[in-house]
Symmetry: C2
Subunit: 356 residues, 2 copies
């Protein structure tokens, strides 16, 4: 008998949106999440506000979770991972492990929604000193401060007078093997820059960038707004080094528009770290037997007209498990993956041979 | 009685993907298209190959159309427009007009998939001479040549020795009111540049840009590939004027990386025109009573976590009707809109009061 359940691996924005769509379509969904609760990266990394609308992330996540919990067809297993797969589209059997306990569940289709992980700046090829200087942060370190409605220099506990973002840390960098653009970091840095200026209006805020990837409405919603309303200064340039000099960090590099070297003292430096395939993404590729594409994310070979179908029939992907995605990408993919998965289950049910 | 039909307005990639999803979910879809056939802008504007995968556009469109035509629940009306709406979510009545004939159809939900139109370079604020010089083309003019596997200078009929693209024509420009980035033009220009180099390897190809918006995998799939494998030259700069001098066009502006004026003779100039709300989008906003957002596209106020729900219950939006979108965005939104629309019809059917 084909199973009427869609197994959704991951309880972040992609998994929650897919589960809601499956549930609203009258299907059954089982969401499996390795963390002890739902919410995914916005919850795990303490995001303050969403890009581009500045909506509090915890409120948005709570709403997504509540929508899923209200649906009778959706159930959730937290602190649980998928450790094995047998069977085929319409009739998968998946082993779930929670602590010492294991259990086999049936599913007609699977959606991989295992998200991304932030690039570890310890792997950077420049000398930005993340593990050396406590006043060098990442985007998500600053998010955690912003969530508490404050911005402080870690070494002094005071508000910064100068702060800069360095873009493309762990992205567009062949030497570390991350040849992709992580898509969202320009938007997130601009959003955080605005939040910093709101909390510490006297602070001078700079963003060092190669290209500002402010596509679509982000152009005026974030990029122009940051410059015109909040006086954030965007400097096109390459930062090659961050050093400590007295009480300041000194950012060294080249302003490529002015064609001259830059040496700028900063109280805080924020590294705009990119997206990498999460451990869960790599693990699910192995466990489920789903091929990765050349960058190491889940392959969806029908791109761009089919963003969700993997190379294994019955297994779909949604969100940043398939590459760098913003929230709009993620919810769209989740909707399409849910539609395709529920459609597959309908077909499997209607063509199944009665048993016995 | 609630209607079990989703009316889909527009037969391009968004509408076709939504129709396929509704049909595969067991729902009924009626696709209404003003042109005499399906396919949308890729068909209307003679696109050669899709971005970023270089797949022939006509093949891809044919596949999307065939998928829809194979579904018994989906019907199509071409050469037809929607002229009036009455009723509410679950029970809309829409007037369709085809020539002189009109008809009222019932639908439980509506998906607006009316796409975009290319910016008309006659409205540009710079002096690029599109209507003055026949060797100044737009992206889609060049697509039409590429579809015929050729690249020729219109005034001579010969292959060009020098060709440049000018980015952001009609985008990121407050003076004409188009404050957004059109998102796809950097990718499409790079794709076309590669195609030009394949057809005319001796031609020197330049792209004048402000920021290359090559997000995600486009970075290495198109941007690096264009530079490294095809020797396309990207010049960061502002082009202020195109003039004719003898047999050449002369592109004048500033190379902002080198900090010096540019004056480059070209055989052909290609204007990377951006996306604007299509006439159909503006018309459907009025006919259906669906508000536009500040840029003039269909408003989806739940962005970024709900990209498809308009301000009118039961009416959804997918694709470039809601703003500049690439094909990946479009198919994702179409899937989510289809899932939401079919879910709404389920709810409407289950809560309907029996009549009489």
């Amino acid at each position: 008998m084909p199973s009427d359940t869609v197994l959704i691996i991951g309880g972040g924005p992609a998994g929650l949106t897919a589960a809601r769509a499956v549930g609203e379509l009258g299907g059954r969904a089982l969401v499996v999440e390795t963390r002890e609760r739902l919410g995914g990266m916005p919850d795990e990394a303490n995001y303050a506000a969403l890009t581009p609308d500045f909506r509090p992330a915890s409120e948005a996540v709570a709403e997504m979770v509540a929508a899923v919990e209200a649906l009778p067809g959706v159930s959730v297993r937290t602190s649980t991972r998928v450790t094995a797969r047998e069977g085929e589209a319409g009739d998968f059997r998946l082993t779930l492990a929670s602590g010492e306990a294991t259990e086999v569940v049936e599913a007609g289709a699977v959606i991989i929604a295992t998200g991304f992980q932030h690039f570890d700046p310890g792997r950077e090829t420049q000398m930005y000193g993340y593990y050396e200087y406590e006043d060098v942060l990442t985007l998500q370190d600053l998010e955690a401060q912003l969530k508490e409605h404050r911005v402080v220099v870690p070494s002094t506990g005071k508000a910064p007078e100068t702060l800069c973002f360095i873009q493309c840390v762990g992205s567009r960098d062949r030497r570390i093997g991350n040849t992709w653009c992580s898509k969202v970091c320009c938007g997130i840095a601009s959003k955080e820059a605005i939040e910093v200026k709101r909390l510490a209006p006297q602070c001078k805020v700079f963003i060092f960038y190669i290209d500002m990837r402010m596509y679509g409405f982000w152009e005026d919603q974030l990029y122009w707004k940051a410059q015109e309303e909040h006086h954030v200064q965007f400097i096109r340039g390459i930062v090659t080094e961050v050093i400590r000099r007295g009480e300041k960090l000194v950012v060294k590099g080249e302003d490529t528009t002015m064609g001259r070297p830059v040496e700028a003292p900063m109280d805080m430096v924020v590294l705009s770290v990119g997206m990498e395939p999460s451990r869960g993404t790599v693990e699910m590729s192995k466990v489920l037997g789903v091929p990765l594409e050349s960058h190491g994310f889940i392959a969806a070979p029908g791109n761009p007209l089919d963003t969700v179908t993997t190379e294994v029939p019955g297994i779909f992907v949604a969100g940043a498990a398939a590459g760098p995605k913003d929230l709009e990408d993620t919810v769209g993919m989740a909707g399409l993956a849910a539609a395709r998965a529920v459609a597959l289950l309908r077909t499997a049910a209607s063509t199944a041979q009665p048993v016995g």
